[in-house]
């Protein structure tokens, strides 16, 4: 068995190498060499004292193969840059379309070689065959295998063509943007990440399998989520590595601002605005790249799932700091709300609470524990629905309009004793997906915001 510490060390080196490659750092070469040395040491020890399982050996050799490939790429890249050779005539960040041609060429070469091998193998077997029947069977088998191979080759070529067309379309879109003068920095970031991810995905058979599953069942939510989980939780994936890098950057700004809690709230508000713009740009980049990598994710339903998962991953380590920053920027409003809550308790507001109000308060507390804006919006809608539910009084139905809902919501906010709810509402409003702004979610957040605004501005 391969020791866990060794395995960790090898994987850590690989991750560091990928990170360094992402950052265009020269250390990538060293990391790959280090991990190769480790692998060779392990394999050497295993020759003298065999302890590794077949699977472990296979994994190590595969890993070494990939590392060598990357090393070849790095060395070639270094040579190109030192020789000042321009290999591509398009924008530097455009997807590597020559990769497509290379790929189809390799496919064709591989196939012709394989055909020759099959033919020679069969000729050998034909020579050994004794009866005419046996020979006929062998010929039939050969014909069947060649037809199968031809079909597979055609399929591969079609895939390569489709990929080339997709790349050409993207290039055309970039050209169009360039002509209209609309190309921005995020476009370059998107293209870089897209190109990197394409390269990574090509060598990842597990991901390719998931992608072909998704192509077969584009509306299967489980497959969509599995694929997204795979891309967005694997640190060696360029997309996830980019998210990590983005999160680090945002966290640095947040920590810097949070280290000075006594600063002017306006200053905090400005930093929050800057941070929120950065986050929105980051999320757009990630979403666009993921959708470009996997075509079926562009359907209406899948776009929503993708956005939800990206938000979930992005905000997990950041939400708490963001909320603290918003609280610093809304210090005055929060103070007024705290006073209002105190006054409410002095009046004994809790004694008049109905069952649905109590449930809404519990939900409001639960809301503060969530970090994904999508989940928070769903929770807010649920609270509003609880409070606006139809009442049946003496066999007569009373529909609850905003006239009744808002006072009830104010009562719930006061009774919940959650001064941080201002920050939570601002967080939801800021990071609410545009598609949901006019819908039920937008309405629910607006209702919560208006209840807070009303409570913060009025005295009993």
């Amino acid at each position: 068995m391969l020791e866990a510490t060794l395995r960790k060390e090898i994987v850590r080196n690989l991750h560091s190498a990928i990170d360094s490659e992402m950052l265009n750092d020269d250390n990538a070469y060293c990391y790959y060499i280090k991990s190769l040395a480790l692998v060779s040491d392990v394999l050497k020890t295993d020759v003298n004292n065999p302890t590794l399982s077949h699977k472990d050996k296979w994994n190590l050799i595969e890993f070494a193969k990939q590392s060598v490939e990357r090393l070849v790429f790095i060395v070639k890249k270094g040579q190109n840059s030192s020789d000042n050779i321009v290999t591509r005539d398009e924008t530097p960040s455009a997807p590597p379309e020559n990769l497509v041609n290379e790929q189809s060429f390799i496919t064709l070469c591989q196939n012709s070689c394989e055909d020759e091998m099959i033919m020679s193998r069969y000729q050998k077997r034909l020579g050994m065959a004794t009866s005419a029947m046996e020979k006929q069977n062998l010929e039939l088998e050969l014909a069947r295998q060649l037809v199968e191979k031809a079909a597979i080759t055609r399929n591969r070529l079609m895939q390569a063509t489709a990929w080339a067309m997709q790349t050409a379309h993207k290039k055309f879109k970039i050209q169009e943007k360039l002509q209209n003068g609309k190309l921005v920095e995020s476009d370059f970031k998107k293209q870089q990440l897209y190109a990197l991810s394409l390269q990574f995905n090509q060598s990842n058979s597990w991901l390719n399998q998931l992608a072909s599953d998704l192509a077969l069942y584009p509306n299967h939510e489980k497959i969509v989520r599995e694929l997204l989980d795979n891309i967005l939780t694997d640190n060696s994936q360029p997309v996830k590595a980019t998210i990590n890098h983005m999160q680090e950057k945002v966290n640095t700004i947040l920590n810097k601002s949070l280290s000075n809690p006594d600063a002017d709230p306006k200053e905090h508000a400005l930093i929050f605005e800057e941070v929120s713009n950065t986050i929105k740009d980051d999320i757009n980049i990630i979403q666009d790249v993921v959708k470009a990598l996997f075509e079926p994710l562009n359907s209406e339903k899948n776009v929503s799932i993708t956005s939800e998962v990206v938000h979930h991953v992005y905000f997990a380590p950041l939400k708490q700091n963001i909320i603290t920053l918003i609280r610093y920027s809304l210090k005055d409003i929060e103070k007024q709300l705290v006073n209002r809550i105190k006054e409410g308790f002095e009046e004994g507001i809790n004694f008049r609470l109905t069952e649905c109000c109590k449930e809404a308060i519990t939900k409001l507390h639960y809301l503060t524990t969530l970090h994904n804006p999508y989940d928070m919006l769903d929770c807010t809608v649920h609270i509003i629905k609880l409070l606006a539910a139809t009442k049946f009084e003496q066999k007569h139905c009373t529909s609850v309009g905003a006239d009744d809902l808002l006072p009830r919501l104010c009562q719930v906010v006061v009774s919940s004793s959650l001064p941080s709810i201002c920050a939570e509402a601002t967080f939801m409003e800021t990071f609410m997906p545009a598609a949901r702004a006019l819908g039920e979610d937008g309405y629910a957040v607006t209702m919560l915001q208006s209840a807070i605004a009303h409570l913060a501005n009025t005295t009993v």
């Binding site: 006239d403 702004a437 006019l438 937008g442 309405y443 607006t446 208006s450």
Partner: protein, 218 residues
């Protein structure tokens, strides 16, 4: 943000319509009658009357109306901007038996015009016309006022289902027209920018500024 959402590109529209008016004038009843075709005398299992969606098909275009109900009590008046921002249309409801509620509509119109200008389409609904005998707002006064502010006036009754469908349909048509005008305007602006870009001529510096001889008299 509304602009981003209005045009789906394939002729689909998303419009936000906000219901404004004093408390108890019948805003919730109007919207319930329009979307669910129900009045609160019926027994219903679930009812969400504060936010409602209505899907329409006008001239082959699919339209989604998101109708936002608002709290009309005076103490909540200051919250208006939170509700009507990003709105494409507003329905201002008053009770024909209550003169004060009509005055309130006038205040709303003034505020909306000031804050949103002509971006928003307005409709004024004189509700509860089933109580015509107790009318306190003269028909002429209301209609003249609506015309003077560029709004359409409708006489409605949520109880008897009068004038509501027509009011929302007319408002939707106006919002569509406004959105199409904006699209055309945006397209022409883009064309202008592009043609300007094409007309920029890069002139060689040497050719543009021949050495001046008159300055120093040399």
């Amino acid at each position: 943000m509304a602009d981003q959402l209005v045009n789906g590109g394939s002729g689909n529209y998303n419009f936000k319509v906000v219901l404004l008016g004093e408390g108890c004038v019948g805003k919730t009843s109007v919207v319930l009658r329009y979307v669910e075709d129900k009045f609160n005398e019926k027994h219903l299992t679930t009812l969400q009357a504060t936010f409602l969606n209505k899907k329409l098909n006008i001239g082959g275009k699919r339209i989604n109306l998101a109708i936002w109900d608002t709290a009309g009590q005076e103490r909540f008046h200051a919250l208006g901007p939170i509700y009507y921002r990003m709105s494409n249309g507003a329905v201002l409801v008053y009770d024909i038996t209550d003169e004060d509620s009509f005055q309130k509509v006038k205040n709303w119109v003034k505020e909306l015009k000031k804050m949103l200008g002509s971006e928003i389409c307005l409709s004024i609904a004189g509700n509860k016309i089933d109580l015509g005998k107790e009318r306190n707002v003269p028909v002429e006064t209301a209609e003249n006022y609506a015309a003077s502010v560029g709004a359409m006036h409708f006489h409605t009754s949520a109880k008897q289902n009068i004038g509501i469908e027509e009011m929302f349909l007319e408002l939707t048509q106006r919002m569509m027209q406004r959105a199409q005008e904006q699209e055309i305007q945006r397209a022409s602006e883009l064309t202008r920018t592009n043609s300007m870009r094409r007309n920029i001529v890069i002139v060689d510096e040497e050719e543009t500024s021949p050495p001046s001889k008159s300055c120093c008299g040399t």
